[in-house]
């Protein structure tokens, strides 16, 4: 993702790069040329596409600009923000820009013109901005070159703006649409320079989202909306205890049901196939299934909790050892110590996992929403036994991702079923399967200690965490030296100043699979450290925000965020009885976000978050609208987890099953959310999809302490007794 840009990438002509694949347009109903179909999967054709100037840019004869988006749209707005980056350099009318997904098939089989298409780690803008600027600039230079060649003039005397090239001395003009075919044959001697931020005109503006019109009339197509001729449906039961196995089933019990087609054992479970999904689901419910539960069957969350606590006292791997922490603790005027705990969490995207696979001996087509389309393509190839050059992955809109769609468990099963029945199959997990067979945010216990001097300021910190290893759980290798970065992110890189810092971790896995959950390690570590700093401030007799300011004195970026946050968030202003503000600030994915939560605690202990003020330093902003939306989204995602989120295990299986017992914040739970910016600019480009999430849980918990004097150290907050 951070590989240096190959400056030759767009120099060669589009036609030599082409021979690629057109995927259907799902882009802009706002484009002047009218609404496009909401289907990202119109038939793939091979061969060059007319007007393709490079892998990212196609200019159509009617002057519409088609920009290919090589990241997955899961709500974060990349279809708009990435198109803006290309259009910034292309000097075209953004109202004429439409978008389509880049082809994973092309990327896998034709030398990766899109680099990495995976979407995660809040990396889409910061990871591909330079590449996209170059794609736009190069296309512009070739359009100018085509015009200069046509007119027999010096390209240096031609300028491009608003979708046309103009020869300044003669005043001749040509629209991009007229030049596209010639531009595709132009080779450049060198790549044109890209703009520095001070020259941005489109980037930084509040452009309306290109996908909105498709999402208000049912037109936007998600993976679950795929419909193919002769398609059948599959419902899946995954083994109730993780790591268990299917022992047997009695097909005769459901064979005579209407629409029944087959029972197919699949990876981690069994699928029932029928001519309609409802019939498949009902037949599956009636299918007698025996499972071998395996080694995890006797476990429960209370035991895990004790195990993680105990692991904090055992042998830990050292992540940071700076200064003489031991000595500082020995001579401390005061030691503050606290234990924080975080539960497993499910992602629960609104669109349940699903994949539609059409396996044939010589070709596989897949329709789904995935964060990692190239991995999905390769998985389909491997599972289906077909060469990757014959596999087509038609990525769709994702009905939420949050990390869950980073691996493709549902696709593995769909390919197996399609191969078994010889038909296109749409395989859908019910919500119950989604909640009970996620790869969860790991459970964790974190013990934080501070050695304070006479002045109440910390001389040393010691942070310990015991948490599941995501890498081990995914089988992506062993954690080197007993560590992985996400276990200690937000702790190891704490900005809070002290003479000594020691951070240790115990990576401890159970049979429960764990994975990336929006903001990953920061999701639990920010709760611990930002609650803890609050506790330390009170122990020192200081205001929590002032205390943070003092500890961040050598971090102007953090101070910029804190000061703007304090002003906009009315820090220190009086509130009515039973209400209070809490503050938290955290850096993740290259972005600092501070949040102040205003929380009212009722007489019976009911918690209402009434207002959240956020302040963000992500360096630069491509589109303030989509950034604000991501902060709102991150806050609500974290607020749901803070208040309600908890997956518990009994007898080895998940106890929760649907939204009645895995509660999600609704409209009535939603605070007013205000987003402000304190941008440090320069070379900093931070991510935005995740950094809004980590501060909200500690901000709420800190507000509850300020309102009630009760310090909650274990999530979710609903389990705390706050009543009078």
């Amino acid at each position: 993702m951070n590989a240096p840009l190959t400056r030759r990438l767009f120099v060669t002509s589009g036609l030599t790069l082409a021979g690629g694949i057109a995927v259907g347009v799902f882009g802009s109903a706002r484009a002047a040329n009218g609404p496009q179909a909401g289907e990202p999967w119109s038939a793939e054709t091979s061969g060059p596409v007319a007007g393709e100037i490079n892998a990212f840019v196609v200019v159509e004869p009617d002057n519409a600009i088609l920009v290919r988006i090589a990241k997955s749209e899961m709500g974060q707005g990349v279809t708009t923000s990435l198109a803006m980056i290309v259009a910034e350099e292309l000097e075209c009318d953004f109202a004429k820009v439409k978008v389509e997904y880049a082809s994973a098939h092309r990327n896998v089989n034709e030398g990766a013109p899109y680099r990495e298409m995976g979407t995660g780690g809040s990396s889409s803008v910061r990871g591909s901005r330079v590449l996209l600027q170059q794609a736009g600039a190069s296309a512009r230079a070739r359009l100018i070159g085509a015009a200069a060649q046509r007119w027999g003039v010096d390209a240096a005397n031609c300028v491009a703006s608003a979708g046309e090239v103009r020869h300044e001395p003669s005043g001749r003009t040509a629209r991009y649409g007229e030049l596209a075919a010639d531009a595709a044959r132009i080779s450049l001697r060198s790549e044109p320079d890209i703009k520095t931020p001070d020259r941005f005109e489109l980037i930084g503006t509040r452009a309306a989202r290109l996908d909105t019109p498709l999402k208000v009339n049912g037109e936007a197509k998600f993976g679950i909306d795929a419909r193919l001729p002769n398609m059948v449906y599959a419902a899946v039961a995954n083994c109730p205890v993780f790591g268990g196995r299917l022992r047997s089933y009695d097909e005769s019990a459901i064979k005579s049901r209407r629409g029944f087609i087959a029972v197919v054992p699949v990876e981690n479970g069994v699928a029932v196939v029928a001519d309609r999904f409802w019939r498949a689901k009902e037949a599956l419910a009636a299918l007698p299934i025996q499972w071998d539960s395996g080694a995890g069957a006797g476990t429960n969350s209370e035991q895990f909790r004790a195990d993680y606590r105990a692991a904090l006292e055992g042998s830990l791997a050292n992540a940071v050892d700076k200064g003489d922490a031991k000595g500082k603790f020995a001579e401390a005027a005061k030691v503050v110590e606290a234990l924080y705990e975080a539960p497993h969490l499910a992602h629960a995207p609104m669109e349940p996992l699903n994949a539609t696979a059409h396996w044939r001996p010589d070709r596989i087509d897949v329709w789904m929403g995935t964060q990692f389309p190239e991995d999905a393509l390769k998985m389909a190839a491997k599972v289906g036994g077909v060469d990757p050059s014959k596999v087509y992955l038609h990525n769709c809109f994702l009905g939420g991702g949050f990390g869950r769609r980073a691996v493709n468990d549902e696709l593995h099963q769909a390919v197996q079923v399609s191969k078994a029945v010889g038909k296109p199959v749409k395989l859908i997990w019910t919500r119950e399967e989604d909640i009970q067979h996620d790869r969860y945010r790991p459970q964790a216990a974190m013990r934080l200690k501070a050695a304070l001097g006479d002045d109440g300021m910390p001389k040393a910190f010691e942070f310990r965490t015991a948490v599941g290893s995501i890498m081990r759980s995914l089988g992506w290798g062993t954690a080197a030296n007993g560590l992985e970065p996400m276990a200690v992110e937000g702790l190891a890189n704490t900005p809070y100043r002290a003479d000594a810092l020691r951070v240790d971790a115990a990576l401890k896995n159970t049979h429960v699979p764990v994975m990336f959950w929006r903001s990953v390690g920061s999701s639990q570590n920010a709760f611990a450290i930002e609650s803890f700093i609050d506790e330390v401030a009170y122990a020192a007799g200081k205001d929590p925000l002032d205390y943070r300011r003092a500890l961040l004195a050598d971090r102007p970026d953090f101070l910029g965020v804190l000061d703007k946050l304090a002003a906009e968030g009315d820090w220190g202003k009086p509130m009515r009885a039973g209400s209070a503000r809490g503050v938290a600030i955290h850096e993740s994915f290259g972005t600092i976000v501070g949040e102040i939560a205003e929380v009212a605690v009722g007489k019976k202990g009911e918690i209402k978050v009434e207002r959240v003020v956020a302040c963000v330093d992500c360096g630069h902003v491509v589109n303030p609208l989509t950034v604000e939306m991501q902060i709102e989204s991150g806050v609500m995602y974290g607020l749901t987890a803070a208040l309600f989120g908890e997956i518990t295990i009994r007898d080895g299986r998940v106890e929760q099953s649907n939204f009645h017992d895995y509660q999600i914040a609704r409209m009535a739970d939603a605070p007013v959310i205000e987003t402000h910016f304190a941008l440090s600019g320069g070379g900093k480009w931070g991510g935005i999809g995740e950094p809004g999430t980590p501060p909200i849980a500690p901000a709420i918990a800190n507000a509850i302490f300020a309102a009630t004097g009760k310090r909650i150290r274990s999530l979710p907050l609903k389990n705390a007794s706050l009543g009078a």
Binding site: M74, G75, Q76, G77, A208, R209, D211, T212, P213, L214, K215, V216, N217, G218, E219, A220, K221, F222, I224, R227, Y233, R258, R276, F277, W278, P349, M350, E351, P352, F397, L398, G399, G400, G401, F402, I428, T430, R431, E432, L625, M629, E632, S633, G634, V635, M636, Y637, L639, N658, F659, H660, I664, A665, R666, M667, A668, D669, A670, P671, V672
Partner: protein, 151 residues
Amino acid sequence: MVHLDVNGQSHELDIEPETPLLWVLRDELGLTGTKFGCGVAQCGACTVHVDGVATRSCQFTVAEAQGKTILTIEGLGAKQLHAVQRAWIEADAPQCGYCQSGQIMAAASLLAKNPSPSDADIDNEMTNICRCGTYPRMRAAVHRAAELAKL
């Protein structure tokens, strides 16, 4: 046979009467704008109008739907966009968009019976789940839709 009236069109379907309306809309009629989210009437992604009232179609059988007028997201703005849809576009309310058909149908139903809802009315009536956290923008958009509907 089951007779259904959906978006002004009549359909005769050979389907089990206990089938939830949701799956008939999606899999028989191809009206995929109505979404499956939970199957237990918790999330509201499957919300349609039954005789003008917001109804969670995953727990509403086609037998119950017979003789009633069904309106889905595809029918809501078929002639011209509904005030709620226009307000949603103005507000850029959707993120991933998956829950939005149901949210919009819920909002349209709310405004039909309460043309000037308060924040509390919206909190009480708009109970569909959104995982992207679009609630603040949707709340503002419902107020804006109430204005647009009166223009």
